[in-house]
Symmetry: C2
Subunit: 344 residues, 2 copies
DNA sequence: TCGCCGATCTACACCGGTGTAAATCGTTTC
DNA sequence: GAAACGATTTACACCGGTGTAGATCGGCGA
């Protein structure tokens, strides 16, 4: 494998001139530039990326830690982030944390090694009390989701309360009053479950409806479809009448629809269902699922953008650090078949 | 950030001794070892991975190029590969190719840069005629899937023909005779579509049934659900009677089930449906989907294993290169609700 | 006591680039 | 024609580890 020194010798210039040509330094005579280029081609030289990284301290690789790619929400999010990163010439090292605390702690340590310049982190097991772990990490971190907040870290997330509230209102507007909430978690006081529940209850309260605890479906493992079906079954088994369902994500909604249909209930005639996330599944479920689009692409783009800006700040030692950002992506309801048409 | 030299000074030993302690070199006195360990802790030293990579020429990062993580099959496959890699201390750089030729060619170039030691490559746009591109890449490559084959490259794939044949036989055994094949592609003469079609037609021929071209549903974009629904609609619109469906993947099957149910056909009573891939969706569709489990986890484990072995071969210059492997993972049918119970 | 040997530890070159400061060169200015 | 200046080019240190070869040390057999 040819090195820069080989090219320099071949072109009759110094190593540094070769380096200058390759890195686009402007003050190189055109003739020299061409001679170097010719030598590069002649020797089939390719720059040694690891040496470059070592010397410059920048790898151009950002870490992405998500719980699990098999879950469509995270798979699709990862695709968006990968695409955004690539548009800026960054590569992405994915670190799945498997919903475990150790996995997430390990992910936070990865960039310390130096191979990864910064991290986009979507926690699922760490909780608010762990927020101090995010301080002074020594590398740029962008937090996703609402598992935890920290005033010292950039954060990109979605309008959970507004989204869940809008979803609930959609059903209320259609005259539904017995609206179940699927996806409650015991452990949380600040995560997405709690926020979405808050939106749900706000919408009810605004109409003077009290929350009926029999309508709350608990899903304590994870927001997989199986738990949606089970939570829905629990609610129905309680004997309470149900004419609407707000599920805290699409997987839960699809699981809930499965259970409703298995019991002979028609969607949306008997029960209207709204999900959350707008994953691709929701477009092809039976019936297709009305859902909240939380602005996933926007989240990905903004997260990568913020990280890039922080990396640039790090590069210039003199530059001021901007203060941490909290960005809320836009939200909108995507109406499909699982909810009744709004009556004018 | 503390360096090895700082630790050495603090512990009163040479840099190399610190290096020896950290890399587990046996001939270090226990007292020295402990002194170094203490200094490492005291200074919060962490080894500079980029320097190590630069010096050793091995990054411990393998590339994974798949079309798209949002597609559950690839998301789940990526999870398995990431898990297998981690068990061996490897990290994974994912390069989504977006089903494009340029994306896949770019992915093949990534390891040349030096940051990635080897590549696990699941092509979707390159074709058999491009197989020569896989020769002499200068790094270990493991090929997944059946888009292309090359006798010079390690290859891990699944029993497509057997799987599709078994799926078709399952319906035949239940007395179904008008079995549609959903997911035909015009472009292929060797890819999974072709192989799965081969299995389908073999099963029919074994029973003396001729393939009825009206039962072939074409899905020329990609094997997304939308195309499954459309292909199913095309078949039904042709006026041919249908009592069974073999879909070439689960997403197509779920799309097809959507279309069947939209037309009032009952599954499995009127039409039995079998998918391929055993993605998580298939467990929660309505009805749940009988499918072919192609041994995804086995594929991931074997692919990582082969790559590891090749990387080790590369490390020892004297070592013999084993000849390229073609590994076929085990296959099995997972029976769920979408097919009639086998009558004894 | 001396020589030998393995265990332990160290000095130093080196991996392949990039940053810095300075040398060299050709013009332009006065 | 000399000083001044920007454009070009270069030498050299340096990033932070690891490999190699050799120094040092303590114990043991002769």
């Amino acid at each position: 494998m040819a090195t820069m020194a080989d090219v320099a010798r071949h072109a009759g210039v110094s190593v540094k001139t070769v380096s200058n040509v390759l890195s686009g330094y402007p003050h190189v005579r055109e003739a020299t530039r061409e001679r170097v280029r010719a030598s590069v081609d002649a020797l089939g030289y390719e720059i040694n990326v690891t040496a470059k990284i070592f010397r410059s301290g920048r790898s151009g690789v950002v870490g992405l830690s998500v719980p699990e790619l098999g879950q469509p929400y995270f798979g699709e999010l990862a695709d968006e982030i990968l695409a955004a990163a690539r548009r800026h010439g960054l590569q992405v090292l994915i670190e799945p944390t498997g919903f475990t605390r150790e996995g997430e702690l390990a992910a936070l340590r990865v960039p310390r090694g130096g191979l990864v310049d910064g991290l986009i982190f979507s926690p699922a097991a760490l909780v608010q009390a762990d927020a101090h772990l995010l301080d002074d990490l020594g590398y740029p971190l962008v937090l996703l989701g609402e598992q935890m907040f920290s005033s010292s870290v950039d954060h990109v997330t979605m309008r959970n309360i507004d989204g869940a509230q809008a979803a609930t209102e959609l059903l209320l507007d259609a005259g539904r009053r017995q609206i179940a909430a699927i996806g409650m978690l015991h452990a949380e006081t600040a995560g997405s479950a709690w926020l979405r529940y808050t939106g749900y209850s706000k919408a009810l309260e605004a109409r003077g409806i009290e929350v009926d605890t029999r309508l709350l479906g608990w899903a304590d493992d994870a927001w997989h479809r199986a738990n949606g079906a089970r939570a829905m079954a629990d609610v129905l088994d309680s004997g309470v009448r149900v004419d609407g369902v707000v599920a805290f994500n699409d997987a839960l909604a699809i699981g809930a629809m499965y259970e409703l249909q298995a019991r002979g209930l028609a969607i949306p005639q008997d029960v209207g269902v709204v999900g959350f996330d707008d994953i691709e599944d929701s477009r092809y479920s039976v019936p297709t699922l009305t859902t909240v689009d939380p602005g996933r692409r926007e989240i990905a783009n903004v997260a990568v953008d913020i990280l890039r800006r922080r990396l640039q700040e790090t590069q210039r030692p003199g530059a001021e650090r901007g203060s941490p950002v909290l960005y809320l992506a836009g939200m909108r309801i995507v109406e499909r078949e699982s909810t009744p048409r709004r009556s004018g």
